[in-house]
Subunit: 221 residues, 2 copies
DNA sequence: GCGATTATACCGACCAGTTGGTATGTTGCA
DNA sequence: TGCAACATACCAACTGGTCGGTATAATCGC
């Protein structure tokens, strides 16, 4: 199905398609969808308009294809971290804490100028997209909720939370925090924000589900 | 300086200006800035293009004026809640908890279809705006950080936190959570999200700074 | 008070540049 | 040789912005 990458070819349709998607994504995250012109995309991808409309029937078609690729990557990424967290510990609480820590780790190591989230970009231009495209956003958001909720239910089953809490909202917390931190990062240009805020979520979960309340810290620390 | 509101006038420039800003804000939150045409704005505001360009020299001028109004309202709003929280309690921890609770309360009572945040809308089309406009976003974000940080420092001074925490990141949590919850709300159409997630932030602060660790809850609750 | 004068608020047709999209041609690979 | 993968030239629709003009309000001499 996939063509070998080492074979030099003049024409490589799947590669061309990816180049278009890459260019579009970078441009959209900075300018939004509406202000990202097809000409700008083909310019950045180093191709021509003819090639673009050979691969995509319209600009909206590009929008849908792009967000579908993004969602698939997002999902694969989440699954992979989840699998790693499960391998690293068998304790449900540790698994959740590790999952968050793995994301922290990654965001800290990112050296790119920083991307932001395509979902958020789309949702603030929601009226421009068709139902199928918006459905991808909903599905992705609900996937995060479901995954986190399942993980947290297991935690709560073993470690009764110290307070009665809204579990669904707790599950949504990581997604919300991530999106919010993306916005702050883009606004202030401080890449450390996401990791530092995710750290707080971990602390919260530790305090909420943690096995034993720590002794009060000495005032003169 | 200001004209009486009850006098019906054929011409009311300040009102016209506000109508333009209102129309623009509503359209921008749904379509983004680029896709919001001047024609659409004047159509919604019930005026003409001539009137628009009488009040604003360009579309970018509108963008700046709009975000400045939004930021001023945001700031006034924050100040008011802060003052209320301070009147309701003299305890620094209670003040912060009350501040968050006041926002929860308000978002729950909102019956509009829901707006979203203009700052977030702008930041995902950042390349379209000039430096002065983006500066408003930064200032507003830093204002939130400063206000929350000051409040939290007072809390920490009286109630040593149970864990060593990053205070600045803690201060940013509310802003992040709000922005993230806005995005989730727009995606899923569930207005309750923000309030429910803010509730978790309160719980976190209670657990972190709370006077005494609660006894572990009975497993069969 | 009041008419003349000026400044402000607003109108809507128009323009030049840009946009997404197409029609038609050319090139490389199976 | 046939067809997918591109390139080029082009178009109709739309965009932000302009401009000449008109109606209303504020100012001021008297």
């Amino acid at each position: 199905m996939d063509t070998p990458a080492d074979t030099p070819r003049v024409r490589d349709p799947t590669r061309t398609r990816e180049k278009i998607l890459d260019a579009a994504q970078a441009l959209i995250l900075d300018h939004g969808f509406a202000a990202t012109t097809v000409d700008a995309v083909v310019g950045r991808a180093g191709i021509t308009k003819g090639a673009f409309f050979h691969h995509f029937t319209s600009k909206s078609d590009l929008a849908r294809a792009l967000v579908e690729r993004y969602a698939a990557l997002d999902r694969a990424h989440l699954d992979e971290r989840l699998a790693r967290a499960r391998k690293l510990s068998s304790d449900p609480l540790q698994q959740v804490l590790l999952l968050i820590a793995l994301f922290e780790e990654e965001f800290a190591s990112h050296q790119e100028p920083f991307g932001g989230c395509l979902f958020a970009s789309y949702i603030y231009e929601a009226k421009l997209f068709d139902e199928a495209t918006l459905e991808v956003l909903r599905d992705s958001t609900l996937l995060w909720r479901r995954v986190m909720l399942e993980a947290l239910e297991k935690v709560a089953a073993r470690y009764p939370p110290r307070r009665e809490v809204d579990m669904e909202a707790l599950a949504d917390l990581f997604y919300s925090l991530t999106e919010g931190a993306f916005i702050m990062t883009r606004t202030l240009g401080d890449k450390s924000l996401l990791g530092r805020q995710a750290r707080h979520l971990r602390t919260y979960l530790e305090l909420l589900f943690g096995p034993a309340p720590e002794p009060p810290r000495t005032p003169a620390s």
